[in-house]
């Protein structure tokens, strides 16, 4: 019992710290990706390739004046960002990102809490997340904020239906509500993943589209459409309160990406079994990357490459060596595959943001109710029928 509490506390510190760093750097990655899509360098001044930009942003946001307008509903105005970030971080607590491992002799799971109804928990928490935005819009006592809050509540109620229906289909195939058992049921080869195994292409696409809408991302970022609504629901927020909404958006992005990976892409399971050498993929990637960096350093194109490339090459080679240590492999390999898949989905988010324009509001609602909802429903019916017939 005591060791359980100690291990849980340690896990919470590790996951929270890692998550906060990831959230800060996700924003850097997004700015870089969009910049390169638009053929410009992106953040470049603070640190090499702008790598210290997130740190500078955090310092800027903390030290900014924290303004509370005099006409707001004070209690709700202050509670709304707190609510948004709490709900966003809470749903991450049930996401498993690896199998059961042993740390210093104690067996434990990779992931904070292992609920046997994890999927329902995440659905419930994400349905509560709308209050943060809706109340922020209402309590700001400002018509732009109010319109942004109204849009977001209507949008999130509408898109939650196709989202839940799209989640239900892979749950039928895996026959469980536990995120951990969901991954266990997709073990083995790539074609055991729910996406391929159950022909869940339709529900995967519906899930991704609804996830974009649930996280208020382009092309569904109507709540904060700046050409109509200034900044939408967070118009009146400054400093860390604005940062809370920002972090909540990115945390929700991470959660839905993890959900997509767990539900459809086999979670932390490698595309092919370790017996066929999937354990050497991260080693190969990091080793090749390290060797290219060292080779570039030895044959410099610019004078400074001689000093900047070799250290990175050595770091990459060390990482590659770490992946070869047998004790660490059981934890690192699942983590690598989970991060790789989640990162791919997150990259999709950024790619879409750099590519697509924004929907019009009536198109957004019509799309949810007239196209997405019937398609998800039909998919669920066909999946259910197929399971009833073939099993």
């Amino acid at each position: 019992m005591d060791s359980f509490i100690v291990i849980s506390l340690i896990k919470i510190f590790v996951v929270f710290g890692a998550l906060m760093t990831i959230l800060a750097y996700l924003q850097w990655v997004e700015r870089k990706v969009i910049a390169h899509i638009q053929v410009r360098p992106g953040p470049y001044r603070v640190g090499p390739h702008g790598l210290l930009q997130p740190l500078a942003d955090v310092i800027k946001l903390i030290t900014k004046e924290d303004l509370v307008p005099p006409y707001v509903n004070k209690v709700l105005y202050l509670a709304a960002p707190f609510f948004a970030i709490t709900m966003a971080l809470l749903s991450i607590s049930v996401i498993p990102f690896g199998p059961a491992i042993r740390v210093a002799g104690y067996p434990t799971y990779m992931g904070l809490a292992d609920l046997n109804f994890g999927v329902l928990f995440i659905l419930g928490i994400s349905s509560m997340g709308v209050y943060g935005i809706a109340l922020a819009g209402w309590s700001s006592n400002n018509k732009y904020s109010l319109l942004g809050g109204l849009r977001s509540s209507a949008q999130m109620i509408s898109y939650e239906l196709p989202l839940s229906l799209a989640i239900a289909a892979p749950l039928l195939i895996s026959n469980t509500l536990s995120l951990r058992k969901l991954v266990d049921s997709q073990d083995g080869w790539m074609w055991n993943w729910n996406l391929f195994h159950g022909f869940q292409y339709v529900s995967f696409v519906v899930f991704i589209i609804a996830a974009f809408a649930e996280t208020n991302r382009v092309p569904f970022d109507l709540p904060e459409a700046e050409n109509e609504l200034v900044a939408g629901f967070h118009t009146e927020y400054s400093s860390m309160k604005f940062a809370s909404f920002f972090m909540a958006e990115y945390a929700n992005m991470v959660t839905v990406s993890c959900m997509a990976v767990l539900l459809f892409l086999g979670g932390w399971v490698a595309p092919w079994p370790a017996a066929y050498g999937s354990g050497y993929v991260p080693v190969a990637i990091f080793a090749i990357g390290g060797m290219i960096a060292i080779w570039r350093g030895l044959n410099p194109r610019r004078p400074r490459d001689r000093f900047t490339f070799p250290p990175f090459g050595v770091v990459f080679l060390v990482v590659a060596a770490v992946f070869l240590v047998p004790i660490l492999q059981s934890a690192l390999l699942p983590l690598f595959w989970f991060c790789a898949k989640t990162g791919a989905i997150l990259f999709l988010f950024m790619w879409i943001r750099g590519t697509l324009p924004r929907f019009r509001y009536d198109q957004l609602m019509g799309f949810a109710w007239k196209i997405l909802f019937p398609v998800a429903m039909l998919n669920l019916l066909v999946t259910g029928l197929a399971i009833a017939v073939f099993s």
Binding site: S127, V130, Y131, L135, A154, I157
Partner: protein, 166 residues
């Protein structure tokens, strides 16, 4: 541990429920109601009924209350003025309330002595498996009838809300 959690969340539920009535602004009442729903979900969880807890949060706290808040925001409803209390209400209110609570507690204690499991008809438990099995075997007919009822309500709502075509 269970007892402490029960007392904390039962306390929150009761205080928030009283707050729903006391608050004069509709949005404050709505938020108190959300707090009631949330703490009820935790109480269900303490009873081991995880599916019912999740359904409580998803359906009540997450969907119905969002609709309430949405409508309040849309209508931009302001604070209500306090109505004058009638003499009879202030005289009888507290005694009747106490009597009602006592009756409720008395009969609950008689029907469910502390050592029996809480049950609904023949149904026990609140996991997803138990609820699903009960819905699709014992209570299949009421379940299907309810779904048709909801369908009728949806069609009725659309007919009522539709603008005249002519």
């Amino acid at each position: 541990m269970d007892l402490i959690l029960f007392l904390v969340f039962a306390g929150i539920a009761v205080v928030a429920a009283i707050n729903v009535v006391v608050q004069r602004h509709p949005i404050s009442s709505a938020i108190s109601l959300i707090a009631v729903m949330g703490s009820l979900a935790v109480l269900y969880l303490l009873l081991g009924a995880e599916f019912i807890a999740a359904a409580q949060v998803i359906v009540y706290a997450g969907a119905i209350m969002v609709l309430f808040v949405f409508v309040i925001m849309l209508l931009n409803a302001g604070g209500e003025t306090k109505a004058g209390r009638s003499f009879v209400a202030s005289l009888l209110g507290v005694p009747v309330l106490v009597a009602l609570l006592w009756l409720l507690a008395y009969y609950t204690a008689r029907i469910y002595p502390s050592d029996t499991e809480v049950h609904f008809g023949g149904f026990r438990g609140g996991t997803a498996q138990a609820v699903g099995r009960a819905l699709f075997t014992t209570y299949l007919l009421p379940f299907e009838i309810t779904s048709i009822l909801i369908l009728i309500a949806i069609v009725g709502a659309i007919v009522l809300a539709r603008k005249e075509l002519e």
